[in-house]
Symmetry: C2
Subunit: 419 residues, 2 copies
């Protein structure tokens, strides 16, 4: 029987082995006192199974507040598997199983979901990204090199026409991609339809001039039917990307968008800190991004090197590589990693290096808009940084004959070195 | 202009006042370097505003890993407001604003969203619970006293016919409410339609006998259109409740269910530990339940006193009271608190006491099924405990003349005292 397998880093006042048994029981056939109906046959068919238990250490105090107390708090890693027959290929119900009540168990003083093995049957039953990396490159008209993008700033406050004017400038400056901020949805100050129509007009006008259509990720986040209407509008206007706030629409919302969308889905993970920032509770990004890819995300945010938030470069690196890695041999469902947050010419080369390729979207806000010589110079500085990396030349060296890059390196040095 | 207001408990390496400024900037008009387009007029119209700042203490070390370091880490509470014009009455986009990137800011070493003031216009624009407390009582046929419910156990493993047989027994035993476990969705081992048809047949047969229809919360959690089909099936069969896993379907999914559902929505918060268990990051339940009520949840889980999980009785009490409290004077949108997790006759009286009323659903699993004299005695013991509380008599005293209660108090003593 096919089984779904998840791995957790845990700490427990009752010992790792006992904690693993409680976890497996709680998330399948167990109750707090065993029932007559919980027969051996039923357990064989439906119970979760402990696949591996490793003890890695112990602590004197619990990492998180915990109803149960222990003499010590043992730390370790456990792998648990479930028969797929318990839930079928339903991502929403799988999430309730692998990431449900577990997080509140009194037998755990820390728990992070750190691994998920997706059976081939599950991967095949899910749509996965519709465009992924190659489809996005084709739509964007960028055959090689990092795709260079930016975010409309200020995040909110611009009217539809002001946004369109900004997009005209960015298109003229040579940008590949622009996105709404996740704070900009469909508020009265800048209604979705109005913004969409005016921005697409700006993009079409620019495309007529230089033959290349800027990809704009319109934030369609809203109620389900409103998102479907938003997608229809985007499609009718020839738009090429739709953005959603994953945390707000849930896995079910993402799948509904995927099933209705003729466009790539730009998946924004705002709120991600809730699931990731504590070392003691949460879900590792390499796990959660698998669920989002299965449900259909084409582009996934992974923060950026030396970002203005709190994730370390090691976490960002692991996240970006995970997004590009095939889910399994026959159903890769690969997606496009999106770098953002305080990104400038400084981080382009290191980003290429960590991935070993340039199949990523590099979004710089201030790194483009605040270039002293204007957005075009900002964009050029990023492309120059990529060229330097490709040629194996240090950016500081390359900058000697590339003034836009030289200016960027000086201007944005403090933004990078503060981290 | 109407504003939405949220309150956060934070800790910061740069001081509370500065941190509040960064939060307000990040979640509205700010960028990491101020742009020319960020005019004073734009800020007046769209910027988030700091409404209050209180410093409560400081620490030597950051509570959470943090890219920025400080000499001390100041602790305090900040209230921030946003113009409703930034997002309109869109819950999904409001969530991205009040609970988005904030949680990853390097200027914060701890952040919990602890308060939310819902403007009347927002409450009016949202559907809220369709049934709430009184509608649920009417459908269930329970005019007064706590509503007594249980959860199908084992959580998974029973076939549709085994589940229906269990429901027959429970109906005969006098139960008011039964629910699917959140692990039971639509897996091949117990398909939704099959389970629904057989369970409803059992319920209808029982209703013909004693004139009262047990409310059963069928777990409809799935993709959006599948949930709508599930609702249609439930309605066609005369079912009276639909359950969803909130974390899996998101606010957009909940609202889609609300808009399509002729039945009360039983909202299960599995995965809640992710948002609540760390003292240093998360969302307080009194905030999140407002969002869920606005989107249409009728029943909301609040754990239970002396539960088998980790929330303290104080947290459970605050949660349950919050669910019953009106959102504001003109738009109450009150919902029904659902107690569960290791609940027995011991906790009925204290639960009535903490709420000052009996408008709640009390779900006991083992507390009913593991009663030595069977489920009917288990249910009776809970009703007797409620009667004792109503009459102002201690349960131990009341048990002297009520054998089911007496047996329950002995049988389940260890389950309560372990906490």
């Amino acid at each position: 029987m096919t089984r779904l397998q998840a791995t957790y880093d845990i700490e427990s006042p009752v010992g790792i082995q006992r904690a693993a048994e409680v976890m497996a029981g709680e998330q399948s056939t167990g109750t707090f006192s065993r029932l007559a109906s919980e027969t051996d046959a039923l357990r064989d068919k439906s119970a979760a199974r402990i696949e591996a238990v490793t003890i890695t250490g112990s602590a004197d105090h619990p990492a998180l507040p915990c109803r149960l107390s222990g003499v010590t708090y043992e730390q370790g890693r456990v792998t648990i598997s479930w028969p797929m027959d318990n839930f079928g290929p339903s991502l929403t119900n799988i999430l309730a199983t692998i990431a449900g009540n577990l997080f509140e168990l009194a037998e755990l003083s820390a728990i992070r979901l750190v691994g998920l093995d997706v059976p081939e049957a599950l991967a095949q039953a899910c749509p996965g990204p519709q465009y992924g990396i190659s489809g996005t490159r084709a739509l964007m008209g960028v055959d090689s090199g990092p795709m260079i993008g930016t975010i409309v700033k200020p995040s909110v406050g611009l009217s539809a026409s002001q946004t369109a004017a900004l997009v005209s400038d960015l298109a003229a400056a040579g940008i590949d991609f622009v996105k709404d901020d996740e704070l900009q949805g469909n508020g009265p100050a800048c209604p979705f339809e109005d913004r969409t129509r005016q921005v697409m007009q700006a993009i079409d006008t620019a495309a007529q001039k230089d033959g290349r259509k800027v990809m704009y990720a319109f934030n369609i986040t809203d109620e389900i039917d409103a998102m479907r209407r938003n997608l229809d509008l985007l499609d009718s206007l020839g738009a090429t990307c739709a953005m959603v706030s994953l945390h707000s629409i849930g896995l079910a919302g993402l799948r509904a968008v995927r099933d209705h969308s003729p466009l790539p889905i730009h998946a924004h993970r705002n709120g991600w800190g809730l699931l990731s920032r504590s070392p003691h509770i949460g879900i590792a990004f390499p796990v959660m991004q698998k669920m989002w890819r299965l449900a259909g995300a084409d582009h996934l945010h992974v923060n950026g090197l030396a970002n203005k938030f709190t994730e370390t470069d090691a976490v960002v690196t692991e996240a970006a590589r995970a997004v590009q890695a095939p889910l399994n041999d026959t159903v890769p469902h690969r997606a496009l990693p999106v770098f953002s947050s305080g990104q400038t010419a400084w981080q382009v080369g290191p980003t290429m290096e960590l991935l070993g390729n340039d199949d990523f979207l590099f979004c710089a806000g201030g790194g483009i808009m605040s270039h002293p010589d204007g957005p075009a110079a900002g964009i050029t500085s990023l492309r120059q940084a990529a060229a330097a990396q490709k040629e194996g030349v240090r950016v500081e060296e390359y900058a000697k004959e590339h003034p836009e890059l030289a200016t960027a390196l000086v201007t944005f040095k403090s933004a990078v070195t503060r981290s």
